[in-house]
């Protein structure tokens, strides 16, 4: 029963009715309004939900399409004051620098206001056998000379010789040494966003989302509506015409972005797009998170994420400027909450008794598709995986970038864009799942069934098994990852494989070892760069203090 959308009085009456109806059954219902003209241009993007996902997406679209001018795309973000945001995504990728630049944000402002600090990769401790000196790095700098040649065969060969014992990451990359000394990736003389060693950030998620909100509203012309979405109003073709709110009535749009977190209000609840579980591959299903203050104001700030394996999961440790974020993710099929809490307490130390521990359930998996009709999900509404490689925020950034760069001009072309978005992101989710699984696959830990189950071939995706077959005889290489949409480069696989003690056997391809001149040059270059960096770089804390005091120059 279509009715005139301009007949606001009638609509209002309907909405009041709908509100009551929805609140009582906790499910979004929808009304149908009018026929959609497929040739109309995309003028208004409505983003539902205002966490980091919502504001990053709003910002990217508004910045690209100049929403602060009068002529172009209008970006509206509607969020409920009642729904708390999750706020544990504190680790980023170097892509965040690109995102902040695209949003027109100064690095100095970002670091000051979000308690940001520098992250130069991840240190995985106790993952191999659980012993005290068991650790390896996944740095953010490529192996030395990676674009010209592959050092892995030479490093393998050296493991038999007199230089045995240098870890893969330390032999081919200068970043591990920087991290081990808690040094910063640049100096106060480096301009905004420029680096000496590649870096990402650790950030305070709650502050970040407020910071982005302010920037989006003041600089980028995003419209902000704080209200509860109570109903979805459809066009007769099933597209979303508008969302209905309690106080602001109907908010119409041409494209709707679902940033409603785990609730997945539009894509999940409204469109019932199925959720694909991956708990048969990744067993983590709970997190216990805690905010730990530093011992004192001179305590070193780690310039990398530390992930320490536990008997049935692992603990993250993220150093922000003003505190650490620590959390234990575990598999409830393999340990109890009490046990897990105890592991967290052992890690944090006696101070844990003064801190409040927050429990967050983790539902590993993603939606079957992410863009359906004129609705696309970004952030937790699209899916979530354990934060082993900080994949949450980077997927938000990549989604926001895709949407803003490829924003369909009309509804007619949207289906094509949607199809491509779905293909791209399904591929990305699968690759991330493979890569996370790789971390577990090579562990020799036996202290809990958790590790045995993780090594069970039944739990390993076929795509990963196939690659592991190939890598028995050669190192991961760029031609293994040929999509434009790769998330992890071959170098990342090398760092994890060889960090975890995997051995590729090059006996069938001796030619991979016929340029020792090149290899030796790269190894000694790495050593030289380590010496230089240790001399030149300030501590992470010292640089952050200076940023608070002086700031970076724009150039």
């Amino acid at each position: 029963m279509p009715f005139d959308i301009f007949h606001t009085k009638a609509l209002f009456c309907e909405l009041v009715f709908v509100c009551i109806y929805i609140v009582s059954i906790h499910r979004i219902n929808f009304l149908i309004v009018g026929k959609l003209n497929m040739n109309n241009s995309i003028k208004t993007v409505v983003i539902v939900g205002g966490g980091t996902a919502g504001w990053i997406t709003a910002g990217r679209i508004a910045a690209k399409h100049q929403s602060n001018s009068t002529t172009t795309v209008n970006v509206v973000l509607v969020e409920s004051a009642k729904v708390p945001t999750i706020n544990v995504g504190e680790g980023t990728w170097p892509t965040m620098r690109k995102t902040l630049i695209a949003l027109g944000i100064r690095e100095t402002d970002f670091i000051r206001e979000c308690d940001g600090s520098f992250k130069q990769g991840a240190k995985f401790a106790r993952w191999l056998d659980g012993s005290d000196n068991d650790f390896y790095y996944h740095p953010l700098v490529l192996p030395q000379g990676f674009v010209k040649g592959d050092l892995s065969p030479y490093w393998h060969a050296m493991q038999q010789g007199k230089n045995a014992g240098t870890s893969f990451s330390n032999a081919v990359c200068f970043q591990e040494s920087i991290c081990e000394q808690s040094l910063a990736p640049k100096t106060i003389r480096s301009g905004e966003y420029s680096d000496i060693a590649n870096y990402a950030y650790h950030l305070d998620s709650g502050k970040f989302s407020k910071f982005l909100q302010k920037h989006c509203l003041e600089k980028l012309g995003v419209t902000h509506i704080v209200d509860d979405v109570v109903a979805v109003i459809n066009h007769d073709n099933g597209d979303i015409a508008a969302v209905a709110t309690t106080a602001n009535g109907k908010i119409s749009g041409d494209l709707f972005v679902d940033c409603t977190g785990f609730a997945s209000l539009l894509l999940g609840k409204h469109y019932q797009v199925p959720f694909i579980e991956c708990n048969d591959v990744l067993f983590i299903d709970n997190a216990l998170a805690v905010q730990v203050p530093y011992e004192d104001e001179n305590s070193p700030i780690a310039s990398h994420t530390i992930s320490t394996a536990q008997e049935a999961g692992w603990i993250w440790d993220i150093g922000l400027y003003h505190r650490r974020g620590v959390g234990h993710v575990y598999s409830s099929n393999h340990t109890s909450e009490d046990e897990a809490t105890q592991r967290l307490a052992d890690y944090v130390g006696p101070r844990i008794k003064d801190l409040s521990i927050r429990k967050i359930p983790i539902h590993s998996g993603h939606r079957e598709k992410f863009w359906h009709k004129n609705c696309v999900a970004v952030g937790l509404s699209a899916g979530f995986l354990e934060p082993l490689e900080a994949s949450a925020l980077v997927l938000v950034e990549l989604s926001a970038e895709f949407i803003s760069e490829q924003l369909p001009q009309t509804r007619q072309v949207m289906d094509v864009v949607a199809k491509r978005f779905n293909e791209t992101f399904l591929y990305r989710w699968q690759k991330i799942i493979d890569f996370l699984k790789l971390h577990y696959l090579l562990s020799k830990r036996t202290d809990n069934k958790f590790w045995h189950d993780n090594r069970d071939p039944q739990s390993v995706p076929e795509s990963l098994q196939e690659m592991m077959e190939l890598w028995r005889y050669r190192s991961p290489a760029d031609f293994d990852f040929t999509s434009n949409n790769e998330v992890f480069p071959a170098a990342s696989y090398q760092y994890v494989l060889y960090g975890m003690g995997f051995k590729s056997d090059y006996k069938h391809s001796p030619h991979l070892l016929n340029d020792w001149d090149f290899a030796n040059k790269q190894f000694s270059m790495t050593e030289k760069m380590i010496q230089q960096a240790l001399k030149q770089l300030p501590s992470n804390r010292e640089l952050l203090d200076k940023i608070k005091q002086y700031g970076f120059t724009a150039l």
């Binding site: 100096t187 106060i188 003389r189 200076k546 005091q549 002086y550 700031g551 970076f552 120059t553 150039l555």
Partner: protein, 241 residues
């Protein structure tokens, strides 16, 4: 080494400054801090560049005297071989110190004039600071005026640099030099005027620069880059000597 003490007309009544020894303070300087007001003079001898302070990362204006730390190519045979010597050198051996004795809460900051008593120029030869009656000498008054000019310059420099940044008028210099002995160096961390933007400034921007008297300084910087050649010349002469 330097040791700064506040100057008064009792302890320092008989002290004299040997003005011939002042310039030796810059003997091992390769970048001399400069103030905007002296750019036109500096440009007649030195490349004027921007570099970043190692401690704060903030831009500082400098006259380039050499290509590496410790090298002042204008210092030769115990003398400064140029008619115009940067104000930062000529101000020696006097400094401004924060006056911590007065209540500065409701006033602009107060400064006291200090003397580097370790300076080779300080002794019993040369210009007196005070005359027989204990009154300031003309020399000392002039020395104080130089300090005042530097202080004023500090604020002016800051505003100048902010303006350059806001108009996207700075770019990093990519200089690779091969000296006569085949040794080549790459200069990093120096910045100069981005002429591409300068050529495209709007009338409004130009008039803003003009009103602040920045145009002269900007063009002095542009022209001074040519002094890089005479600096290379000096270096080559040293290498072949």
């Amino acid at each position: 080494m330097s040791k700064l003490v506040a100057i008064d007309n009792i302890n320092h009544r008989n002290i004299k400054i040997d003005t011939n020894k002042i310039e030796s303070h810059g003997a091992t300087m390769h970048l001399a801090p400069a103030v905007v007001a002296e750019f036109a003079h500096l440009a007649t001898h030195y490349p004027i560049v921007l570099a970043k302070d190692g401690d704060t990362g903030q831009f500082v204006c400098s006259a380039m005297l050499g290509f590496q730390a410790g090298e002042n190519l204008f210092w030769d045979n115990g003398q400064w071989q140029a008619v115009y010597v940067p104000l930062q050198v000529r101000r020696q051996p006097f400094f401004l110190g924060d006056d911590t004795t007065t209540d500065t809460e409701n006033q602009s900051p107060q400064y006291i004039v200090c003397l580097d008593v370790e300076s080779p120029s300080v002794g019993d030869q040369g210009e007196a600071l005070y005359n027989e009656n204990g009154e300031e000498s003309d020399y000392f008054t002039e020395a104080k005026a130089k300090l005042a000019e530097l202080l004023r310059g500090e604020h002016e420099n800051k505003a100048f640099i902010e303006t350059l940044l806001s108009m996207d008028l700075l770019e990093s210099m990519a200089v690779e030099i091969k000296f006569i002995n085949e040794e080549s160096i790459r200069l990093n961390g120096l910045y100069t005027i981005k002429q591409e933007t300068l050529a495209k400034l709007s009338g409004e921007q130009l008039s803003q620069l003009h009103e602040n008297n920045y145009l002269e300084a900007i063009y002095a910087m542009v022209i001074s880059v040519g002094q890089m050649y005479s600096l290379i010349d000096k270096k080559n002469q040293r290498l072949s000597a």
